[in-house]
Symmetry: C2
Subunit: 369 residues, 2 copies
């Protein structure tokens, strides 16, 4: 039994992210670009007219009502932390985002995505501010140019090293995007490629699997992977007739195949992994959580699927709070019901058991640490 599978600080802090069983029931409220778009739609104004306080207040209200239902809450240091941190209870872990929202366009067709950090922010600042983990979102397509792949990989390595330095868990979120010619051609508006196409849906399982495989390599120093569901349930034989959003689609696989995709991701991921919600509705996300946790996921880190409808009430904060306390809480409860199959992080094959996830306790520990 090895005693050095995890460092002391990472072990203590990962514990703060999970529930008492070691399963992750985390909430994301670190959205920036997507929240600006939601608010601009709700207020009927141009995105450029959305003010700092619009985001800060929306995040504050969502955090206030829903953070207590999460095992940990992820927010951003720009609009989230300053107004919301007081509403994150002491028994709820705190994750802070590191990446700037959005991406820089790159590559020969201008569709590749490169990430960058929030200017003026640092892992060291997050640690000082009380973060129990650093979250980094990376857009990733294994088929992108070498330059873009290298840029993204180096960024991940940098953050991995910083997290090692401060002995804080590194949670890496990986998001694919339409990039290849046939994916663009299949989009209703090729100027605005979408992942809601049969071509992309069919390719998604392999994108998620390969990406998980890449960033499981020890050189990235990732502790938890936050992954997309490795299929699009709206393109399954069983759910393609508008089950989730009323829209008919062709099917490209069935639920049996989806189970295999989830298994493949679990095999590819050499660290505990959680599922993200990517803005799907709660009913679809509940299915995602079921499939993912049955395949070995350690839980979820979920944002819009839980709270997105609350934004419709802005700027009526009272109405927003009312919706969150009823429907929002109810969404969380739907997840409670299905996430129990999640694998505790310390039972991932990297560790096997909590006792096995040792950091080398000894009388010399404090000297050598």
């Amino acid at each position: 039994m090895s005693q050095t599978l995890i460092s002391a600080g990472k072990k203590r802090k990962i514990k703060l992210l999970a529930d008492s069983d070691g399963k992750f029931r985390m909430m994301a409220i670190d959205q920036r670009g997507s929240m600006v778009r939601m608010l601009s739609k709700v207020l009927g104004v141009d995105p450029s007219e959305i003010k700092y306080e619009d985001l800060a207040r929306t995040k504050m209200m969502i955090t206030k009502v829903l953070s207590p239902y999460s095992s940990a809450t992820l927010t951003d240091p720009v609009y989230g932390y300053p107004y919301s941190v007081d509403y994150i209870p002491k028994d709820v872990g705190l994750l802070l985002a590191f990446e700037e929202t959005g991406y820089e366009k790159a590559g020969s067709n201008g569709l590749e995505r490169r990430s960058r950090q929030i200017e003026g922010w640092a892992v060291e600042k997050a640690v000082r501010a009380g973060a129990n983990a650093i979250k980094l979102l990376i857009y990733y397509r294994p088929e992108a140019s070498d330059e873009t792949l290298e840029h993204q990989q180096n960024f991940v390595k940098f953050v991995g090293q910083e997290c090692e330095k401060y002995d804080i868990p590194f949670l890496l979120e990986l998001v694919g995007y339409p990039l290849l010619e046939d994916e663009v051609a299949a989009s209703p508006d090729p100027a605005k490629p979408t992942n809601d196409t049969p071509v992309y849906a069919k390719r998604k399982p392999e994108i998620v699997r390969r990406t998980a495989e890449e960033f499981s390599k020890p050189e990235y120093k990732v502790d938890i992977l936050k992954l997309e569901f490795p299929a699009d349930l709206k393109y399954t034989e069983e759910y393609c007739k508008g089950t989730f959003d009323g829209k008919n689609r062709e099917h490209v696989y069935n639920l049996n195949a989806v189970k295999d995709f989830c298994k493949a991701v679990d095999e590819a991921s050499q660290v505990p992994w959680v599922i993200l919600s990517a803005g799907v509705d709660i009913e679809e996300f509940v299915e995602n959580v079921k499939f993912a946790t049955e395949a070995g996921a350690s839980g979820l880190l979920c944002g819009r699927a839980i709270w997105k409808d609350a934004v419709n009430f802005y700027p009526d904060l009272e109405a927003m709070e009312k919706w969150l306390m009823t429907s929002g809480v109810n969404n969380f409860k739907k997840i409670y019901e299905v996430y129990t199959a999640a694998k505790p992080w310390f039972e991932h094959r990297k560790f096997k058991s909590y006792a096995d996830a040792g950091f080398g306790s000894s009388s010399e520990w404090y000297k050598n640490y």
Copy 2:
């Protein structure tokens, strides 16, 4: 209403030390020298024969059973953390000790006490390991030589600066000791001066008050003071006839005076303060907590008063666990009953309210932090 009374990191982390009402119900299990002496007595061997594992196991068992009853647990990085941290629940804050156990003798009569840090340990390490606060114990007598006062004051300033650098709360524990000629002369064995004399008991209120006053100065950057009870209840008119330990003593004040001593300490302390137990029995400590919290203390950080009898069972860990789960838990419950009068830390006059304890939220926060 000022918005910069506390920094962001300190505010988040102080919250992790208190219960949900902002009152401190903290447990100390960072004893080293005193625990060696207890174990040597129990095992009937010389203190030099007490092994690392004897301390580590004793601390582990006490932490395992009682930490869940505390709002935060203080342990040491040498014997405590490596074996015990896994038993500190996620909703219980973690404090780590900074000072080496004991002291260096100094001064013309060799009775002055100078503190030093644990060699090989650092605030930076404590932060990495997941500490939510740094605890420093300082022996202090305002009557000591200038050299000793300066040494102790400089040590406190150093730790205060380190805590500011990492934005982690600084909890300073202050302990007086017999030093002056009449205190030594009053001791049954002048070669081993004790504070269990009428002379010292009479002087104690002023020692605690003056010490609290000194280390309330902003230059020390202390966030919470951990103070001795500013009187010895065994020397009060009401309790001097052996109420707590069966031993008769003369009285040097009464309970009305004790109330005044507590008020004076509360007035002297410019930051929230908690009461330490200094090895007194639980019944006496419960009285200490009552008087202190009624005068304005924000709670307690208590060790031996709760768990010391458990050590008598060592090395029978099973018997120790049984005692802790019954009598130990019961001791904690006795404290629960009386500490409710404690003043939430954010209602201390330094802050006045939680909202008032602001750190300067703004759209530029993350840049300037």
